[in-house]
């Protein structure tokens, strides 16, 4: 320990004051072995499956390298699938984001009693985790053809389904996704809004700003990266969702996740390589949104912490 050459050889492991505080002398190389279980797990159950799809996507039926599968992604029904998925994710991220933000504002700065905040946070925690098959059932019981709301409206002389509403389509799916989307927004935005310091408002009031000016020029610029970042998170949340959509529509709605599922079940595309390429396309979009999220998150941490 304390060997300068060793520290030089492994500069990324060199920590200030290490000699004095280290619990037990050990070589830096030995330290890294402690990460082996995690690295092995990540390799076998995340990286290997993902990279296997990447290899498959670049491999033709004859085993040769090809870009054909990615070129095939431009077929109309696949573009349609991606468009539907992106559309549902964008709409629910936007509506869920705005609505969630308003509620987060109401329970933090909106002058409601503290007990309301505790209740809303608990409800939001439950709702953001209430997804998949049971959520689909709940919405079928509510807005399905014989659901309570549909029946009540019908007895009041207004037939939702005759007016063009259908739970098993784009609008219905969006409405269902919102049930876990906007609570997630509340859960993330409420602490962020807490980070707006009272002094900032007081300072801007002392400088003669009115409420609107405070929000437009002080609070919003500080909170905006956080809002946008969380909306990106909501986008990814909906984009990768499979179970809710599958249970709701029985796999009839053309979303990317549903199409990949059909591909796993029985080669409906008659082309496994195309399925791999679709999966890789999803990973690329997800990675992209996580990177944007991380970037926005870092920006928001400049002020809110």
């Amino acid at each position: 320990m304390g060997n300068p050459t060793k520290s030089f050889q492994f500069p990324w492991l060199n920590r200030k004051g290490r000699d004095a505080r280290s619990a037990r002398p050990a070589s830096p190389l030995w330290d890294v072995f402690g990460l082996l279980p995690m690295l092995a797990f990540a390799f076998f159950f995340m990286l290997l499956p993902a990279s296997s799809l990447v290899f498959g996507a670049f491999q033709g039926n004859d085993g040769q390298f090809t870009l054909q599968h990615f070129a095939d992604l431009s077929q109309r029904f696949i573009i349609e699938g991606y468009r539907n998925s992106i559309q549902v994710s964008l709409v629910t991220a936007l509506i869920g984001g705005v609505f969630g933000f308003i509620l987060a504002y109401a329970i933090t700065l909106g002058g409601l009693p503290p007990v309301v905040r505790a209740m809303v946070t608990t409800f939001a925690g439950v709702a953001s985790n209430f997804a998949g098959v049971p959520l689909a059932f709940a919405f079928i019981s509510t807005l399905g053809r014989t659901g309570l709301v549909t029946v009540v409206f019908k007895s009041a002389g207004y037939d939702l389904y005759k007016q063009g509403f259908n739970l098993y389509t784009f609008a219905g799916l969006s409405l269902t996704y919102l049930y876990f989307q906007f609570p997630l927004m509340i859960l993330i935005m409420a602490p962020a809004l807490d980070g707006l310091k009272r002094e900032w408002q007081e300072a801007s009031e002392n400088l003669g700003a009115n409420g609107f000016q405070y929000w437009r020029y002080v609070a919003l610029p500080i909170i905006l990266p956080s809002i946008l970042g969380t909306m990106v998170l909501l986008f990814g949340n909906a984009f990768g969702a499979y179970a809710t959509a599958f249970a709701l529509t029985g796999g009839t709605l053309d979303l990317v996740t549903i199409m990949i599922g059909a591909q796993i079940r029985g080669n409906v595309l008659y082309d496994p390589g195309l399925g791999y390429a679709m999966a890789i396309g999803m990973v690329v979009i997800m990675a992209f949104s996580i990177i944007i999220y991380a970037w926005l998150q870092r920006r928001s941490e400049r002020w809110l912490r």
């Binding site: 402690g34 002058g111 098959v133 049971p134 709940a138 859960l187 499979y242 591909q263 997800m286």
Partner: protein, 262 residues
């Protein structure tokens, strides 16, 4: 300010309606199994169904295995990063974020491709397929479990505890299981309950690995029956509620209870 409060209540009311209406509708629907009267017949039928019991117990078993192995993997790793490898933190955090990048449907697709043929043939027997299922569940719950353990470790003096234990002659096993883990019980329990809530009704992995879990059972019931799915939905909701309630109580609402598995 008063006008503001008025609007706050207004939006809160809208949110409450959106939150409660599906629950009320589902509860009402679930009690309509007997014509003309409200009854608990659907619940009774569900509870008497042998498949309900067996699939629920199967998923519960998988959830417990996921929690056990998840904690065995994550607690030592997070502890080691805190104690010895703070510079590796970005790498480990990146790994724990990977599940957000790989959607579950893609994960199971890749797993089937890798593990249904040599050299890693695992999908042929139930026992080895269950290993894949638990590993997949560990992947899904990795971000949540890691985060809550990490928060727990931040709250204690890992270095002093380790040195004190070592100067009393404790080995690494003793330190981890008798010093660190007991101090992490709130964090571990929080993570465990979130994992339970995610895993118990999970559909995607179980469906494509063809295991008799609760998620596929619910989905099948949804296709064949009218009122039982509503009853199941209410029961699932109660379960989620119980898990989240305990999480909230454990953390006093300080940690956002964010799960996944949509």
């Amino acid at each position: 300010m008063n006008r503001f409060r008025y609007w706050s209540w207004f939006w809160l009311a809208i949110g409450a309606i959106y939150f409660f209406l599906p629950l009320v509708a589902t509860a009402e629907f679930s009690m309509r199994a007997q014509k003309g009267t409200l009854s608990l017949l659907a619940y009774q039928r569900v509870l008497e169904d042998k498949e309900f019991v067996s699939s629920f117990l199967f998923s519960l078993r998988m959830a417990l295995l996921t929690i056990t192995f998840g904690i065995l993997l994550i607690v030592p790793t997070a502890y080691w990063v805190h104690l010895r490898l703070p510079r590796m933190r970005p790498l480990v955090e990146l790994l724990t974020l990977l599940p957000f990048v790989i959607p579950v449907i893609v994960l199971v697709f890749g797993m089937i491709r890798v593990y249904s043929s040599p050299p890693f043939l695992m999908t042929t027997t139930p026992a080895t397929t269950d290993i894949l299922l638990v590993a997949g569940y560990m992947v899904i719950s990795l971000p949540y479990l890691y985060r809550s353990v990490d928060v727990g470790l931040r709250a204690m003096d890992v270095r002093s505890l380790t040195e004190a234990a070592q100067s009393l002659g404790a080995g690494w096993g003793t330190i981890l299981f008798r010093i660190i883990l007991p101090n992490l019980r709130t964090a571990a329990l929080t993570g465990a309950l979130l994992t339970l809530a995610i895993v118990i009704g999970e559909l995607t992995l179980a469906q494509y690995l063809a295991r008799p879990a609760f998620g596929p059972y619910m989905n099948l019931l949804g296709k064949n029956r009218a009122y039982e799915p509503a009853a199941l939905s209410i029961m699932s909701f109660a379960l989620t509620w119980a898990a989240m309630g305990v999480v909230y109580w454990l953390t006093r609402g300080e940690q956002a209870q964010i799960g996944g598995g949509h």
